[in-house]
Amino acid sequence: MSNLNKIIEEIEEVEQSANGQIDQQILNLDQLEHWRIIFLGRNGEISKLMKYLSSVSDENKRIIGPKINNLKKSLSNKYNLTQKKIDQRNNAVTEFDFTLPGRPVNLGNYHPTTLIIREICTAFSEMGFQIIEGQEIETEKYNFDLLNIPNDHPARDQWDTIWLQTENTNVKHLLRTHTSPMQARVMEKSNPPLRVIIPGKCYRYEATDATHEWQFHQIEGLAIDKNISFSELKGTLFEMARKLFGTDQKVRFRCDFFPFVEPGVDMSIEWNGKWIEILGAGMVHPKVLEGVGYNPKEYSGFAFGLGPERISMLKNKIFDIRNFHLNDLRFLNQFTI
């Protein structure tokens, strides 16, 4: 017992002595080195203390071991700090170039399409819309028939289609030309009230140029309930435009035609003194509701679809839509959000 106390006493003495010396007597690096040898050197005080460890019981070892280790750590820190202090004192005018580049952190970027999709989805999410995704390979039934787009009708010309060769020849498969097929799929699966938003890729048989792409994204929205009105369609879309483009954004609603909505509407925003159409929408057509087994006398709703790339082009002043699929790092590296 007395042995243990003695060792502890000695540890405390070393601590006091080392701290006392370094705080009051050390003025230059030579003195500091001398101090280091005395306390932290190979045969220094700390090493001497360490030697006690082999001579005490395990129980005592557990008490003094951490004490010695802590002291060693504390003195080492003190040494480093004092060294820096002396260095600074010696060099009143520092030669340290604080403008040299910092050690790099690798920078990653989101694709601008992802950024705008997230922004738009968040706007709708805040209004209670749930985000879901859908399949990109579709059938005529969902891409056209259930959306009241009859075969052999010029209305289909709005959706030039890419057809797929599959082993199953009973059903014609295609790459969805819009995200609207998900309207029918969602309604078939769930009962109202519904409020969903569906981002995803779409494809059209279309020649590409600065404003047209055969592959692009769409964001589909659908809200169904017992009393949904055109007025709420307008309010919802206006709120989205405000969140995306700012509180003062002017919008215009005009009559437009899409076979799966009635009345149909498109929304334009005022942009550099011009009206730019950014989305098509309307009240879900009674035939679409009937097609999925909803009673159009009981339920109504609205649907809309918008093109995120086009909105990104407006917001970011991108003039060629093909940039979105070229993946040139000189393009992608600018979207540093």
């Binding site: 952190v105 055109f230 057509h285 992608l332």
Partner: protein
């Protein structure tokens, strides 16, 4: 559809600006895409050619002396058709003549010398004036044009280009647009459908519909003794303003009526029709017809032709036949105004890639009621302009009469759907203004609405809601938030998982890319083997050969993206893409979410305190380790061979029990790097199967951390080269209190026995119940070392 405003003005007297007309039309669904001015080039005036002399220095040029009523001009001209006495339009010096190819550019006409002779202007062709396509010679004007008058006096016109939606065939006519506009701006619509000609049955046997399904109505009339000549100037100007080339008076009248009221008409030269017999029938397979454009068309059995006893004389609803064309000698004509099956017309037009003003209208489902009004209107004009005499009367073959629909319009529902209170008077007025007739039940606020024949697109109450809303104006409907029940909410976990993965990869310094979902046949060659046991899905009508197959893996996409970038991007390339892949297995179409990543070039940008090194396998593995800890999935690796990878440096990533594959990771083989034109020498790729990974990722569960000290002990081990660190780690972890096991040095060198590697590992120990004693640690370490030796033949390095 072009809309010349002077023409529009015949049917609606408006007193608003062209901008306001455009805005109103756009608002009600008739979108004005552009507005252009034609015939308004200042400086172009009427002149008369008084004398022509040869150019002394050029065979193909002449010198015209032109008089404008006050001044004389000497103008060099190359047109072959100039004659003395002609009235012409010419551009005086200073005129800015628009460039036909790019409207914002122009040519400045100056006094200048052409081959040594002074030229004081330019005599213009139709095309140069923007009045038509003709550029074979100068445009010759009627004699009564006044010398010195500006072109705008005769041809000045504002023309709007409208995008008419496919439901509104009635608005493929000036009167149809005028009707909508007058309803919107509350002005009188000055047009009525009229038929004031008597009918006749005397030709019933000569004119027959052989299949009622292809033609619901065939109306026609024979006119004798007509004279074909140039159209009067007003008619020519109308056609020019709508972009049509005047041909002759008869053809011009049929075109004029089509644009005026929307009914396509066709005139046959009766003398060219065998026995004056006309049949509307299905085409025969292989049947040939030379259409008016001079092309020979070979038909299948699914088109409609107009034929005489012998052969087809017209491709019904699309284009007339050359063999019955009107010409200068035509004396008797058969004028047709018919209604053909829309889908047959559409399919033929698509099959032959022949879209005409007529076919556009027929395929949009014109109403058969319209034929008689089109015919009657044309007849009036023909008798007035071409002369001639109706042989007997109008023959009308009309089988299935159109029945008007009655739609019930309930005000309560209208207001509920629109979210707008509307007065009865406004509803009635709007219906009136669009020529809908109705009976109003004032007690119930219900209108029984009869739709006019030209609006076959209106079939449901909802269609009427739109009519009322668009005329009243969508802007008068208030903005509201959605009210009502809170919708169900089922979070889309996989979607969120993919978002998190994207966040993590971006956070780890990678660039997100999005490529095309279809790849070329050549790119199929760089598909990894692990997707090659499923079948490709090919595209029947690819945009190009570059995009002929749906991708089964994202590897070709990231490889191509990276390879393209290696030439222009001199910094480290770290990219990834998340997207769907598509394939067939067991007759089923599969669509799955994958994510692929690629690292190439150097690990870091060049930096004053860091030595960059080329990326290698462990940069890729680092990302997998990072994802594993952030997304909370455990994984193990097995060797994997594939010819796109470097042998021995590619692995399959799977769950610990080796039941589910999560993906693959490896270095691309040097042969591939060379073949794919990488401007780098080391490429790491990985691909993860997100559905599987998601299912194996655990929920986040917090565990109370230990309050007791964490101890560690280092071991220097001598291992066989075929021993994996993973096995060492597993043995360590099988002991209680072991919390971590790291490697801090790997050494392979001369002073080691053959086939051995020295590794230094640090094992961490901690207990939740108390501080571990030295003895405890030694005991645990001893056990671990026994297992090392027993299972892996590992010895402590002395």
């Amino acid at each position: 559809m072009k809309l010349p405003l002077n023409w529009l003005k015949e049917y609606v007297s408006y007193n608003i600006s062209p901008e306001e007309i455009a805005e109103n039309l756009t608002i009600i669904g008739l979108e004005v895409e552009s507005v252009s001015k034609i015939g308004m080039i200042s400086g172009v005036i009427v002149g008369e050619i008084q004398k022509i002399s040869k150019h002394p220095n050029a065979d193909t040029l002449q010198i015209a002396f032109v008089f404008d009523g006050n001044n004389k001009y000497k103008i060099i001209c190359g047109a072959p058709n100039i004659r003395v006495g002609q009235k012409i339009f010419f551009a005086t010096p200073g005129t800015k003549l628009p460039d036909e190819n790019s409207p914002e550019k122009y040519y400045l006409i100056k006094e200048s010398k052409i081959r040594g002779e002074l030229s004081q202007g330019m005599i213009c062709s139709e095309k140069e004036l923007g009045l038509g396509e003709n550029q074979d010679g100068i445009m010759v004007l009627p004699k009564d044009f006044k010398l010195g008058s500006p072109i705008s006096k005769y041809y000045g016109e504002i023309v709007m280009e409208l995008d008419i939606t496919p439901n509104r065939v009635d608005c493929l006519s000036i009167t149809g647009i005028a009707r909508d506009l007058s309803a919107r701006i509350d002005k009188e619509f000055k047009f009525k459908y009229i038929n004031n000609h008597s009918s006749s049955k005397s030709y019933k046997n000569n004119i027959q519909i052989l299949d009622e399904n292809i033609c619901s109505r065939y109306t026609g009339v024979i006119i004798d003794n007509i004279s074909i000549s140039e159209s009067p100037d007003w008619l020519k100007r109308r056609l020019i303003s709508i972009g049509e080339r005047p041909i002759n008076n008869l053809v011009d009248i049929t075109n004029y009526v089509m644009f005026e009221i929307g009914q396509p008409l066709h005139a046959f030269d009766l003398d060219k029709i065998n026995e004056e017999k006309i049949f509307v029938r299905n085409s025969k397979k292989g049947e040939e017809i030379k259409t008016l454009d001079g092309n020979k068309r070979i038909l299948d059995s699914h088109s409609i032709v107009i034929a005489d006893n012998e052969s087809a004389i017209g491709l019904a609803g699309i284009m007339g036949g050359k063999n019955s064309e009107i010409d200068i000698k035509t004396n008797s004509i058969f004028l047709e105004s018919a209604n053909f099956n829309p889908s047959v017309i559409r399919n033929t037009s698509k099959l032959l890639s022949l879209q005409t003003e007529a076919s556009i209208r027929f395929e949009r489902n014109l109403n058969p009621e319209l034929t008689i009004y089109g015919l009657s209107r044309a007849l009036d004009l023909i008798l007035r302009i071409c002369g001639g005499k109706i042989r007997t009367g109008i023959l009308d073959n009309y089988n299935n009469k159109f029945v008007r629909k009655i739609i019930t319009l309930d005000k309560r529902r209208l207001c509920k759907i629109l979210g707008l209170e509307i007065d009865n008077e406004i509803i009635s007025k709007t219906l009136n203004s669009l020529n809908f007739s109705y009976e109003l039940d004032k007690l119930k606020d219900i209108w029984k609405v009869e739709t006019p024949f030209w609006r076959s697109d209106i079939t449901l109450p909802e269609d009427l809601y739109e009519e009322i809303a668009r005329i009243v104006g969508y802007d008068s409907i208030p903005l509201k938030f959605i009210s009502g029940e809170i919708p169900k909410w089922e979070p889309n976990k996989l979607f969120e998982y993919k978002n998190t993965l994207t966040d993590l990869l971006v956070g780890s310094g990678m660039y997100e890319t999005i490529s095309y979902s279809a790849i070329s046949e050549e790119m199929l060659g760089i598909l990894p083997d692990y997707v090659n046991n499923s079948k490709n899905i090919s595209i029947i009508n690819p945009i190009s050969n570059e995009h002929a197959y749906l991708r089964k893996s994202l590897i070709p996409s990231v490889i191509m993206t990276a390879s393209r970038n290696t030439n222009n991007w001199k910094k480290p390339i770290r990219i990834f893409e998340t997207g769907n892949v598509f394939f067939q297995s067991e007759q089923k179409i599969q669509e799955q979410s994958y994510s692929a990543g690629l690292l190439t070039g150097f690990s870091e940008n060049s930096h004053w305190d860091i030595t960059p090194r080329e990326v290698d396998y462990f940069d890729g593995k680092g990302i997998i380790d990072y994802l594993s800890s952030k997304l909370r999935f455990n994984y193990a690796l097995s060797p994997y061979n594939d010819n796109i990878y470097t042998k021995g440096k590619s692995v399959r990533i799977h769950d610990k029990k080796n039941k589910t594959t999560f993906g693959y990771l490896g270095m691309i083989s040097n042969e591939m790097i060379e073949k794919l034109n990488f401007n780098t020498s080391s490429v790491v790729i990985f691909e993860l199967f997100l559905e599987e990974l998601y299912k194996s990722s655990k929920d986040l569960i917090y565990k109370e951390f230990s309050q007791f000290p964490l101890a560690h002990r280092d071991l220097s081990l001598l291992i066989d080269t075929n021993v994996n660190f993973e096995d060492i780690k597993n043995i360590a972890f099988s002991e209680k209190f072991v919390t971590d096991c790291n490697v801090f040095d790997v050494y392979q060198g001369d002073n080691l026995p053959e086939g051995k590697i020295a590794i230094a590992v640090r094992i961490f120990y901690q207990s939740n119940e108390g501080t571990l004693s030295w003895k405890n640690l030694q005991q645990i370490e001893k056990k671990i070392l026994i297992q090392f030796e027993k299972k892996l033949g590992i010895k402590i390095r002395e």
